[in-house]
Symmetry: C2
Subunit: 257 residues, 2 copies
């Protein structure tokens, strides 16, 4: 998998340039080899995994900050980003063990103070094209890579909780709206689509029932092509019908007039 090194550190080594007490944390989801993936970073000094996140400059809107942070980590522009929840518990950045971890990491005391202070985090989630995202490291970020959603390592602060809520938001989206446009390649098989649903919902789905329901929604165009790079019987390829997909995105369900 392609990764990138960004050697610029400034201005991210000087926290005083940001608004205090507010951060942004991003759950970046991708789909690859039938698995929902999430992008995680490892801070050089702390040795612990974390959601890609950051802080907001005084002269930068919150949405612009979220876009900047994700672009820095994925090299992707025009990411589909959605605010999904505010994480505002008092001690979320100063849980048992937080102080000890920072002390062990030997970061300077000013940085420790910044990272342990009361911080409200604004949660965003993004659905990105796995094949186009380039996980990007910096001198401060030793590692940046995709993890299977079922194999997420121990995370800093309340980030495990943030992932849980982002998944719930994603599931809520999936149960009420079509999904897949930002996660699947342009052409995909019915099995790939089903695996996407299975990995987000965390359960297996009956193959025939799924196909029947999906076709009934009218958002799939069956192509005159088959997927050829698979070993067994070549499966038919589908493509989203953008017109009906969009229509369904904006549809109401029995409550509209």
């Amino acid at each position: 998998m392609q990764t990138k090194k960004n050697t610029a550190t400034a201005p991210y080594d000087d926290f005083s340039k940001f608004l205090p007490h507010i951060s942004i944390d991003c759950c970046v989801f991708g789909f690859h080899e039938n698995q929902l993936k999430i992008l995680l970073i490892k801070w050089e000094k702390f040795g612990v995994w974390s959601l890609p996140g950051g802080f907001i400059f005084p002269e930068e809107s919150v949405d612009a900050a979220a876009k900047r942070i994700l672009q820095e980590r994925t090299s992707l522009q025009n990411i589909f980003l959605e605010q999904f929840k505010i994480f505002g518990e008092v001690n979320r950045t100063n849980l048992p063990g937080s102080r000890e971890m920072l002390e062990r990491s030997e970061v300077d005391s000013q940085t420790q103070q910044w990272l342990l202070q009361r911080t409200i985090s604004l949660g965003y989630y993004a659905l990105v094209d796995f094949s186009k995202a380039i996980p990007t490291t910096t001198p401060l970020i030793a590692d940046c890579r995709w993890w299977d959603i079922s194999k997420v390592p121990h995370l800093i602060h309340d980030h495990a909780d943030i992932v849980k809520h982002a998944l719930k938001a994603l599931q809520g989206h999936l149960l009420n709206k079509p999904i897949g446009l930002n996660l699947l390649p342009t052409k995909f098989t019915m099995t790939e689509l089903r695996r996407l649903y299975e990995t987000i919902l965390g359960k297996t789905i009956d193959r025939r029932n799924f196909e029947k329901k999906m076709l009934k929604l009218g958002i799939l165009d069956r192509l005159d092509e088959v997927k050829t790079d698979v070993g067994h019987k070549a499966p038919v390829l589908y493509r989203f019908n953008l017109a009906t997909y969009d229509e369904l995105l904006n549809a109401d369900f029995g409550f509209g007039f």
Copy 2:
């Protein structure tokens, strides 16, 4: 309408006790006389209407702050509150005219500085029982009252935009989920339910079509009672069936498996 005066000012006259750069703004919706209402306050010194809002104490979670702020304004406990959007534009608290308004108001320069500084607002909306809310004034808040959603006066900062987004969130809720439990009295007529939908959606709805759709949803129990305090033919009363209402709240629409 009942209102209440709260004569305590401390600690709200000392902004330095709050986290800087973050505020909470609440869109409190009620339903009365077939109109969707929103609760607005008028600051004593500025003479301009505003959403009820406030700031967050260092030792207070964001959700607790939102509840406290609303309780101060409505005397209601256990309010149904939903985060709906973060308002993070750079100049939202320092729009053209903001500084002049504060200077005219003769508030001290420290307060001016606090109110004009970059502030990210966390938007909440609440659906409350109009009959039980008691709009509450304080020495700093000269007025606190309900306004028809169609007659909202000029509002401070970007609050008109916040109201617009809260209404959109409420409409989104209405189009996908049952609504009314927190807004209507326990027993209500079909016309009252329809007026609620009409006032949220901002359009008239065909009476027979509405009744047919609503009954089909299976969330209404028809009572053996009629509404007797109305002049013309006494209309039948309905009540939400909490079991099916809840079921529908959590239902998916064709995308679930």
